[in-house]
Amino acid sequence: MEPTLNLWLTILACGIATFLIRLSFIAIHGRVTMPLWFVRALTFVPVAILSAITLPELVFQNGAVNLSLLNPRLFAGIVAVLVAWRTKNVLVTIAVGMAVLWGMQFLMR
């Protein structure tokens, strides 16, 4: 496959589209007054979007939902929630979560 001019322009268009999404509210903020309810709703954005991304990563196993504690990712995720709650430390959470996942994968081989 050749990197044609058409392909380069398409990638550029993809990049501009992505950039404009990221710039959208940053650019209009201050020019358009945001209603108070909108500003309050924004405080929920990080919790909502990161949770929506994370839980599927824990419960899906081979393309299907597996809510068993024998699902290594779900179990490691639950342990990580407890560790994050107690320590509030990103590195410790990653270290414990990965260790639990590897331990379970090793035991279940």
């Binding site: 999404i21 929920f44 954005v45 990080p46 919790v47 909502a48 929506a52 839980l55 990563e57 994050a84």
Partner: protein, 229 residues
């Protein structure tokens, strides 16, 4: 804090996430080459689009000679969740110059946003906090470019049984937990998680947006009611 301190605090906060990001970039580069995407295009996607999930989805479409409009629309929908990030950080970047806004918008990815918003929401002087987002964003950007390039040229893969990709959900857990300051936020997180699972099958990762909007609405209503009583 002065700009320099903020910048390096951002770099340091972002570094643990690289455990998950580097294998992701590496696998993207290797996969794109295996699919038949030209090396120059595969690398350009990392710097021009700079959005992991959308690059993974775009690579096979490019090889399948998908029409340009379909490709651009697909990338647009996959990255649409970043509009929520843009709205969320906008109040903190309000006073910056146009140049700063453009630079920080370009660097506003999942991982940079997650680290920066946790910092922005803390108490204290906010004057130089954009340097924190810049430090986090440029760190992610550099690691993403290099790991992609290594993936492209080495072509080999980190053994999948290492499951290094799992470091990213673990990071997000560590970021979200301290943000759950009351019941409204806890229920918001639960609704978003369940919604993310239920709506997972929607195309273009739109499930994330649907689930997040529903959870934001629930959290908002709960907080409003708690405020009134």
């Amino acid at each position: 804090m002065n700009p320099r301190t903020e910048f390096f605090a951002g770099v340091r906060a972002e570094l643990p996430l690289m455990v998950g990001v580097v294998p992701f970039g590496f696998i993207y580069g290797a996969l794109a080459i295996q699919l038949g995407v030209p090396a120059s295009i595969a690398q350009a996607m990392s710097s021009v689009i700079f959005g992991g999930s959308s690059q993974f989805i775009a690579a096979p479409l490019i090889v399948a000679q998908t029409p340009a409009l379909i490709l651009v629309l697909t990338v647009f929908f996959v990255n649409l969740r970043h509009a929520l990030y843009s709205a969320s950080v906008a109040p903190y970047l309000e006073k910056l110059s146009a140049g700063w806004k453009i630079l920080l918008a370009y660097l506003l990815t999942d991982e940079a946003y997650a680290i920066a918003i946790a910092h922005f929401q803390k108490e204290g002087s906010a004057q130089n906090r954009h340097w924190f987002l810049f430090g986090a964003g440029i760190t992610l950007w550099s690691f993403w470019q290099v790991s992609t390039a290594v993936g492209i040229f080495v072509g080999a893969q980190v053994p999948p049984e290492w499951s290094l990709d799992f470091a990213l959900p673990l990071t997000f857990i560590a970021i979200v937990l301290p943000m759950l300051k009351n019941r409204a936020y806890v229920i918001c997180a639960i609704v978003a998680g369940i919604g993310g699972v239920v709506a997972f099958g929607l195309p273009y990762k739109l499930g994330y947006i649907v689930a997040a909007l529903a959870a934001i609405a629930v959290g908002f209503v709960l907080e409003t009611r708690a405020y009134r009583t």
